[in-house]
C-alpha cells in the first residue's frame, strides 16, 4: 500500500486519481501508524512551505524518517520535493527533511511568479525517470525553486536552472506535477509504483 500523506495543505484528489490510474493501491492518511505500515510514501503538496510543520506536530516526520531509514521508496511532489531539502526562504523557521543539501528560494524579480505551465526537463540516468527523455514536457506550478545538486536527475530552466527531479537511493522528488503532466507524468508515477526499496 502507498500512503499519500495528507498534511492539510490543499487538494489530494488529483494525486490519488493518478496513482489509481497507474494501478497503485493508494490511501490518503494523516495517521503516523498508517505511515509505519506503508510500503511506499508519497508527500504531495501545493501549498505553503510552512504547512509542512504539520508533519512534525503530528508525529508524521518521525514516522517518515523511520520508514525512509528502513529503505522504503519515498516520493515528494512540489512542496514535497522542497521539503526534502534543508528548508525554504518561504518559511525560514520551518525545517525541511534534510535528505538533500541546500535551501529553496523564491524565483527572482522580473519574472512571472508562480512559474506556471509546461516546461521541458533535461534528464540524467534515473530509475524514476526511466523512459522519459530530455526535452519532454511536464507541468509546473510553484514560486520557489530547489537548487541543482549532485543528486539532481532532472533540471529545468526558468531564468536560472533549478532541480526538477532529485533521486538518491529510495528517496525521490519532483518539482512538477506528474499527476497533471499527461502520459509523461503517468509514466513517472508508474515507475515509482514499480520502484523497489533498498
Amino acid at each position: 500500500m502507498i500512503a499519500v500523506i495528507d498534511y492539510k495543505a490543499g487538494n489530494l484528489t488529483s494525486v490519488m486519481k493518478a496513482l489509481h490510474a497507474v494501478g497503485a493501491d493508494a490511501l490518503a492518511t494523516s495517521d503516523p501508524s498508517v505511515v509505519m505500515q506503508a510500503e511506499k510514501l508519497v508527500l504531495p503538496g501545493v501549498g505553503h512551505f510552512s504547512a509542512t510543520a504539520f508533519l512534525e506536530e503530528r508525529g508524521l516526520k518521525k514516522a517518515i524518517e523511520e520508514r525512509v531509514a528502513a529503505g522504503i521508496p519515498f516520493l515528494g511532489i512540489c512542496v514535497g520535493l522542497q521539503w526534502l531539502f534543508e528548508g525554504s526562504t518561504e518559511a525560514p523557521d520551518t525545517a525541511g527533511f534534510k535528505a538533500f543539501p541546500g535551501r529553496c528560494e523564491r524565483f527572482g524579480d522580473g519574472l512571472k511568479v508562480p512559474h506556471v505551465g509546461w516546461n521541458s526537463i533535461q534528464v540524467k540516468e534515473s530509475r524514476l525517470l526511466q523512459g522519459v527523455a530530455s526535452g519532454d514536457f511536464v507541468y509546473f506550478t510553484h514560486s520557489y525553486r530547489a537548487p541543482v545538486i549532485h543528486d539532481t536527475v532532472a533540471v529545468t530552466e526558468y531564468d536560472l536552472p533549478f532541480t526538477a527531479a532529485v533521486e538518491r537511493d529510495n528517496v525521490v522528488g519532483v518539482q512538477f506535477h506528474p499527476e497533471k503532466s499527461g502520459s509523461v507524468g503517468l509514466r513517472i508515477l508508474a515507475n515509482f509504483v514499480r520502484l523497489q526499496g533498498c
Binding site: T13, S14, P114, V116, G117, Y139, T141, H177, S181
Partner: protein
C-alpha cells in the same frame, strides 16, 4: 523553456457542453468528460470547464460533471461558474479540479480570493476578468472597465486596478476576457491583454476573439499573454490543436510539441 499554453474551454449547462470544439467522430459531442478527454489526448495544455448557468439547483449536476471529467484527464483542470464561497470551491476541488476560476463573486467580496488562496494555495485560484474598452475617453485601455454577471453589469472598476488587486490578494493567474473581441473571431484584444500582463507579475490567460492560428500567435507575443483560451478553436479550418500549435510554433512561439 517554459511554453505558452493553449487552453480549451468547455461551456456547460446542466451537465452538457453547449459551446465547444466539435470532433467529427465523437460518440457524444455534448458530454464534457468525453470532450475533455479528447482535448487532453489531442495535446491541449489545460482544460477549463465553465458552468454558464451556475444555478443553485444545478450544483449537484456540476459536481457530478466535474468528477466524471476529472477521472478522464491528467492535465490541469479548472472549473468556474457560480463559485461564491470557500465551501463552493472546496466541493469543486474535492470533485477533482486543480483550480477554480472566480469572477462576479470576487468583485462582490474580494476577500474570497484571499480565503481560497490561503486554504488551497495561490496556484489554485484564477481570477476571471471580463473587461470592455472604455468609450468616450482618451485612453480606452487604461479606463477599460470590468463587467460582471456574464458581462451584463458594469462595476465601475478598471481592469488594470482589479487585476493588481487580485494579484495582491493572492490570485495565481488572471483570465482576461475581452468583451469587445469575444465572439468576433477577429483576434484577441492584444493591446488590453498586454497592458494587464505588464501590470501584474502573475500569468495572464487571454480569452475572447480567437479565429485563426495567427490570432493565438499575436496574443502570445505582442499581447504578452502567457496562455490563450478558446471555446471553439478547431472551426475556421484549424484541424486540431496539434496543427494549431505547429502554426504557432512557426511564428517562434514556444509551445509543447510534440504533444
Amino acid at each position: 523553456m517554459l511554453t505558452k499554453r493553449i487552453i480549451a474551454c468547455l461551456d456547460v449547462n446542466a451537465g452538457r457542453v453547449v459551446k465547444g470544439v466539435q470532433f467529427v467522430d465523437i460518440v457524444d459531442a455534448g458530454d464534457p468528460a468525453e470532450l475533455a478527454r479528447r482535448h487532453a489526448e489531442a495535446g491541449t495544455d489545460e482544460i477549463v470547464l465553465l458552468d454558464i448557468a451556475a444555478t443553485h439547483e444545478g450544483r449537484g449536476t456540476l459536481i457530478d460533471t466535474v468528477e466524471r471529467t476529472a477521472r478522464q484527464i491528467f492535465v490541469p483542470f479548472t472549473v468556474g461558474g457560480g463559485i461564491r464561497t470557500v465551501d463552493d470551491a472546496a466541493a469543486i476541488f474535492d470533485a477533482g479540479a486543480d483550480k477554480v476560476s472566480i469572477n462576479s463573486a470576487a468583485i462582490a467580496r474580494p476577500e474570497l480570493i484571499d480565503e481560497i488562496g490561503s486554504r488551497f494555495g495561490a496556484q489554485a485560484v484564477i481570477v476571471a476578468i471580463d473587461a470592455r474598452r472604455a468609450r468616450l475617453t482618451d485612453d480606452p485601455i487604461t479606463d477599460a472597465e470590468v463587467f460582471v454577471s456574464g458581462g451584463r453589469k458594469p462595476t465601475g472598476r478598471t481592469a488594470l486596478d482589479w487585476a493588481k488587486e487580485a494579484e495582491s490578494r493572492g490570485a495565481g493567474e488572471i483570465l482576461l476576457t475581452s468583451m469587445d473581441a469575444d465572439g468576433t473571431r477577429a483576434g484577441f484584444d492584444c493591446e488590453l491583454t498586454a497592458r494587464v500582463s505588464e501590470a501584474v507579475h502573475i500569468p495572464v490567460i487571454a480569452s475572447g476573439g480567437a479565429g485563426t492560428a495567427d490570432h493565438f500567435a499575436d496574443v502570445l507575443t505582442a499581447g504578452k499573454a502567457d496562455a490563450a483560451l478558446a471555446a471553439s478553436i478547431f472551426h475556421f479550418g484549424i484541424a486540431d490543436v496539434r496543427s494549431l500549435k505547429e502554426e504557432i510554433a512557426k511564428r517562434g512561439v514556444p509551445v509543447r510539441l510534440p504533444c
